[in-house]
Assembly symmetry: D2
Homo-oligomer: 285 residues x 4
């Protein structure tokens, strides 16, 4: 089985590496070739266009930043839609707007190929360790075809039904993570401003029932002034925007989300490329 992997950023390179190490025959594409270097050294073949990649692959996997990037590798000239054909499977691991996922499905269907939206839970480290959680929606048959590959990159892969159900769950998941962490970090910055030691406050909070690995991981880095990117600020902003857009479409009352989305917009110029936990700095300046 030949796998084509498009998008070799923080997440994609970890995933593609795990697939390559597991013995899959890998074709890769990335806008800037240098990010493919390590994979090529280990035996992956670089394709000069997504179109070429789709010709050579049975499974076309994409892990890209946003809708724009997905459109570029599929709809633009030399995009994979040009060579996509019956029986192939397109899997989009990227977190995208659910409405775009519906659009992409239609374009794939027109080529008589199969489609799965498969956003993942987990960031840099789970991607490297093959311990992501995969949320899939779309063609059931495609999900079965991908079982082996998914096992190499995840600790769990779930089939949730029709598109865009997996995108919806992903959007809610990221919203819940971002808004609850932002609320928590706002509290710590507040503690600091009123003269408390934020580390002492964190230790007290973290000894209680709200203690969890996510807050602990993020807060410890924040308290060490470490904002190295595991999940970028601009990507989280993008996902918050997707959530708010869906909330608006369904008329859901989401004032906390709306407030947090504004905080992220406020910080976007300064913190785009840092970790999303840099939202702390917006409170602490």
């Amino acid at each position: 089985m030949n796998i084509g992997f498009i998008g070799l950023g923080i997440m994609g390179s970890g995933m593609a590496n795990n697939l390559l190490k597991s013995g899959f025959n890998m074709y890769v594409f990335n806008r800037t070739r240098e990010k493919a270097k390590e994979l090529e050294d280990n035996g992956a073949k670089f394709c000069s266009t997504p179109k070429e990649l789709a010709e050579k692959s049975d499974l076309i996997f994409m892990m890209l930043t946003d809708v724009r990037a997905c459109r570029a590798v599929s709809e633009d000239k030399d995009g994979f839609l040009e060579s996509l054909s019956k029986g192939k499977v397109v899997v989009n691991f990227s977190t995208v707007h659910p409405n775009y996922s519906l659009e992409l499905r239609e374009m794939v269907k027109e080529k008589e190929a199969m489609f799965l939206e498969s956003p993942v839970l987990g960031s840099k480290i789970p991607a490297q360790k093959g311990e992501l959680v995969i949320l899939s929606a779309g063609d059931k048959e495609a999900f079965e075809i991908c079982t082996d590959a998914f096992e190499k990159i995840s600790k769990k892969a779930m089939y949730l039904g029709d598109v865009p159900k997996a995108s919806y769950v992903k959007v809610v998941n990221n919203e819940a993570f971002a808004t609850s962490l932002t609320a928590y970090l706002e509290g710590l910055a507040f503690a600091k401003k009123i003269g408390l030691d934020p580390e002492m406050v964190f230790n007290i909070l973290n000894s209680g029932a709200l203690s969890n690995p996510y807050f602990e991981f993020k807060v410890k880095k924040v308290l060490n002034d470490d904002f190295e990117t595991h999940f970028s600020f601009e990507n989280m902003k993008k996902d918050l925007g997707y959530a708010l857009s869906v909330a608006d479409e369904f008329k859901c009352y989401c004032p906390t989300l709306a407030a947090v989305n504004e905080i992220f917009k406020k910080g976007l110029n300064k913190h785009a490329k840092e970790d999303m936990s840099a939202v702390y700095k917006i409170f602490d300046e």
Copy 2:
């Protein structure tokens, strides 16, 4: 050592019971006597006024709903300040506005008594089990005098320095719990409105790094439509108000807190006496 305990609500009755069972000689006062019944049956003596209670007790403990209730038992006619005298210790377990705590300390000091503000972490069940966390600030000597008593009602008692440091930590703690839980519940209600099964979404979220006993406890009850009060909605609103007031005094930028405080105001008429997790219903109507 005679302990006088004022305030026998959800929290206070649990704490007073544990002290009584540990062998302390207990005097109790509550606005409505019926809540003291079980304690009286087990040997506690009911005082008809806080003044009488303070005459008979070495340690005067209070666990009340808000500043108004604290003022009523201390400053009003027959309040404990009337009989408070040198060497006695006043411990306020209630969560109050930090500025009031400073005021109360002054009034206690004028009587040459000692003062501790000692807000606690934990709600109904930890109070019953004697597993609270006590945050104390004020007279170091008073903290030492209370060591034995504190051991009977808490798993940990911390001395944090001057008043209102413990109140500040408590305010931040409750803010962090309330705002992060509200953010999370907003996400689940959103999931439901866009057609997802909130239980399925919770299971996915709860299998990840954000999983924690607090969210799990609250969400499971919410999904079972169980809003029995562990921490009342109106009390949480009160604490959010304290937090926002302190934030305003120190000019801290707290947009998530501000948004959540409004949500709680919106729901106060309907949900005051329910558990604070009833905030979910405001999103899900």
Copy 3:
């Protein structure tokens, strides 16, 4: 010159009437024919489809509620795009998402017809009186062709440049009206809740520099409990949603807009068909 007018709601009927009275040969279309009755009685010809209307008209004018309605009369079967041809002019008076306006322009251009987006300022009464302000963007030549017709329905018509510039201005305009009025009404409801007579407070405020016809018109009705629709709550919600969507696209920090948009979402179930000033009731319950 034959004018086809699609959409005979509160706004459209007023506009079409003024055109008819000015002597234009009018073709009209509306989803429900009864709304066309008065116009037909006065000489307008009802077309059974937008396609038929576009065959018979030189200028195709649309005044519809939202993007969905615009798509229905243009892209659906028997939509006007089917019969649109070279030299004809499509003018969309509807307030729509700017990105949709760009899409519609493309579809019109493919037919070699001309396009103007021409959202209007003013609601029911200016529409009836022919005193709207027209904001136009698109083909300059089309704007000139429409000069006569625009004069009959407006007190001023402005040409602003390329699509979607007029949509952008309209979105900002409606945002400014909605958010400032909401802020003002929130203040009056607040005054009432703290025991002041809202009418007295309004009189004081209205005697100062902030006094304006818009607030006066809206507040007087609110104080008389009159929520008859001049600009519907659901339409204003829609426009706030457009504004927030554009703000997100351009990463504009708009926390007041975001807060107001949530208030409108909260009230949508109850107040959709009332005047947008029913937002007052959300504060006053």
Copy 4:
């Protein structure tokens, strides 16, 4: 009739000048004497303490920045409460927290003096021109005694009833001005960010029903990058804080106010001394 005037800032100096020019015998006090220079040159007598001022005056007028400043000149050593006596009238023009106004009334009453809270509407220029609007609450007799003096500094003086009714109206008034202007300026900054000329947009908006002298005055200065202080940013922040505090006390749902208050907190470090319209810069950076 001898008038003592405490507080000679932007507002107070304009008011004291008008009283002096009208022939009243004026005693003045200000923390820094240099601000009294012009008044002294014109015949006012400077008192070295508020206590001295109250000895010499029948009417004690105060126009100060905030509660802290009011407490300093009344309760501190050499404050006017020390020499206040029966029959004298204390008038507080300052905008203060309504609860403080109640406190001050009590302190004045203990001296058997009369009290009026008399916050004013209007800023720098109306103060200079004697065209303020005075909102009074408190002793009716005091209001009558002050009639002559009030006529010299205002175009209208209203008696509203008991303390803190005038403070409440003032708080609502400032909230309505600040929140609606902030909403409007947010819209203009948004227009600029999406590529529109904010002046063009303002001209369009200002030609409609929302046009008013307040927005026009403020926006024109903003568009000229003129942030000279008429009403300082920090004072408006203070008033928004009062409003939110009262809203919390009465459990009023005020999400727009809450959002705007956060924006002002965000900008306080940078813009404290500028005009409150500098809130525009927070959106436009």
